[in-house]
C-alpha cells in the first residue's frame, strides 16, 4: 500500500469517526479490497475468506473509536484484521472437527436396521419442531436433501461459515430434544 493510500484511509477514518456517511461508504469500500488482499496473502483463497473480511469490517466499525487520528491508520487496521483472521481460523477448525464427527455419527447410524431407522425418523421429526425456521431449513437441506454446505449457503444467501454454525447449533438442539445431549 502506498503512503498516499495510507494517508487517504486515515483521513476517511477520521471523517467516519465524525459520522460522515459518505466517507464511511468510501472507507468500507476501500477496506474490503485491502482486507481481502491481507487475508488472501496469509491463507490463500479459502472458502471462508469473505467471512474473515466481514468479521474485520464489523470489528473496524465497532472499534473505530480506538484509533487515534494522531497515529498511523494502517498498523491499527492490520492489527484488527490479524486478530479477526486468527479468530475465524480457530472457528473454522472447530467447525471442521465437529463436521467430521457428525459424518462419523451419521455413518454409524446407517448401520442400524431399517426398523430402528423408521422409529428414529419419527423421533427426529418430532424433535425438528423444536428448531427455529432457519435452523429447520438448513437441517432439511443438509441432512435430508444431502446438499453441500456451499449449495445451501448460496441457496439461502448466507456465508458458508454461518451455515456451518447454524447447522451445528441445530444438531445440538436436536440431540437435546431427543434426550441424547
Amino acid at each position: 500500500m502506498s503512503p498516499e493510500q495510507e494517508r487517504a484511509l486515515g483521513v476517511l477514518m477520521a471523517r467516519t469517526q465524525r459520522a460522515d456517511a459518505v466517507a464511511c461508504d468510501l472507507l468500507l469500500e476501500e477496506l474490503q479490497v485491502v482486507i481481502r488482499r491481507f487475508v488472501r496473502r496469509r491463507v490463500g483463497d479459502v472458502p471462508w475468506l469473505e467471512d474473515a473480511v466481514q468479521e474485520t469490517l464489523i470489528a473496524v466499525h465497532r472499534g473505530r473509536h480506538s484509533w487515534n487520528p494522531a497515529r498511523p491508520f494502517v498498523p491499527w487496521l492490520y492489527a484488527v484484521a490479524q486478530s479477526r483472521l486468527i479468530d475465524v481460523i480457530r472457528r473454522e477448525r472447530r467447525v471442521a472437527a465437529r463436521e467430521v464427527n457428525h459424518e462419523k455419527a451419521l455413518a454409524a447410524a446407517c448401520e442400524h436396521s431399517v426398523e430402528a431407522a423408521v422409529l428414529a425418523g419419527s423421533e427426529v421429526r418430532a424433535a425438528m419442531t423444536s428448531l427455529s425456521p432457519p435452523q429447520r431449513r438448513i437441517v432439511e437441506l443438509l441432512k435430508l436433501e444431502e446438499r453441500s454446505i456451499q449449495d445451501v449457503a448460496s441457496a439461502l444467501g448466507m456465508s458458508e461459515g454461518n451455515v456451518r454454525v447454524i447447522a451445528h447449533r441445530a444438531m445440538a438442539r436436536l440431540r437435546r430434544a431427543m434426550g441424547k445431549a
Partner: protein
C-alpha cells in the same frame, strides 16, 4: 459472497454515529496515574503504619515500594497499549511480570534467609492485609479496567494479565505501607500470595474480564 460483504458495508454505514477517539496511550497513563495514584495515596494516608517515619528510610520498604511501583506503572502502560490495536505485541506484558517476579523472588529469599524463624506460624492471620490491599487496589484497578474495556482489547489475555499485575501491585503497595509486620513469612503469605493469586486468576479469566470482541454477534443474529 462479495455482494454480501457490500451489503454488510452498507448496513454498517447506515448505523453510523459520531465517536470520540481514545486519547493516546501516554495521556491515558497520565490520567490513570493521577486518579489511581491519588486514591492509593489517600487510602494509605488514612491507615498508614505507625512506624512510617522509620520505614521511609528502611531499605526493604523502599526497595519493595520501588519494585511494586514499577509493576503497577509498567502493568498499566502495557494494559493500555495492549488494549489499543497496533500499539503493542503480547510480549509487552513481560515487563510487569519481570518486576513482579523480582518482588516474589525477594520475598522468597527473605523467607529462606530467616531460616528457622521463618516458619508458617510466623505468618499469622493477616486478613487485614488482604482487606487493605483490596481497598488500595480498588480505584486504580477500576480506572484501568474502564480504560481497557473502553478501548479494543483484541489480545484479551495479555491485557488482562497486565491489568491484574498493575492492580495487584497497587494493592501490594497499600499493604506494604499500612501493615507494620515485616516478618518474611507474613509478607510472603499475606502480601505476595494474594498478588500472585490475582495475576493467575486474570490469566485464566482474561477474555471474560476484558475481552468484548470474543464474538461479534453476527452469527447469533442469523441463528
Amino acid at each position: 459472497m462479495t455482494s454480501q460483504t457490500s451489503e454488510l458495508a452498507a448496513s454498517l454505514s447506515a448505523d453510523l454515529g459520531p465517536v470520540t477517539p481514545l486519547p493516546l496511550p501516554g495521556a491515558q497513563l497520565r490520567r490513570w496515574g493521577l486518579i489511581g495514584g491519588a486514591a492509593l495515596v489517600a487510602t494509605i494516608v488514612m491507615g498508614i503504619r505507625h512506624d512510617w517515619a522509620a520505614s521511609m528510610v528502611a531499605w526493604p520498604v523502599i526497595g519493595h515500594t520501588a519494585v511494586l511501583a514499577a509493576v503497577a506503572g509498567s502493568g498499566a502502560w502495557a494494559a493500555i497499549r495492549l488494549a489499543t490495536p497496533g500499539e503493542a505485541l503480547p510480549r509487552a506484558v513481560g515487563w510487569p511480570l519481570a518486576f513482579g517476579a523480582i518482588w516474589l523472588a525477594w520475598m522468597a529469599v527473605d523467607v529462606a534467609l530467616a531460616g528457622a524463624s521463618g516458619t508458617l506460624s510466623e505468618a499469622g492471620f493477616g486478613w487485614r492485609c488482604v482487606v487493605r490491599a483490596v481497598i488500595g487496589a480498588a480505584v486504580p484497578g477500576a480506572v484501568l479496567l474502564v480504560m481497557v474495556r473502553r478501548a479494543m482489547p483484541l489480545m484479551a489475555t495479555p491485557a488482562a494479565v497486565a491489568l491484574a499485575a498493575s492492580t495487584a501491585a497497587a494493592g501490594g503497595l497499600a499493604a506494604e505501607w499500612m501493615c507494620p509486620n515485616m516478618a518474611a513469612m507474613h509478607m510472603l503469605v499475606w502480601h505476595a500470595a494474594p498478588v500472585l493469586a490475582v495475576v493467575v486468576a486474570a490469566t485464566i479469566l482474561g477474555r471474560a474480564l476484558v475481552g468484548h470482541l470474543a464474538s461479534t454477534g453476527r452469527v447469533s443474529l442469523l441463528d
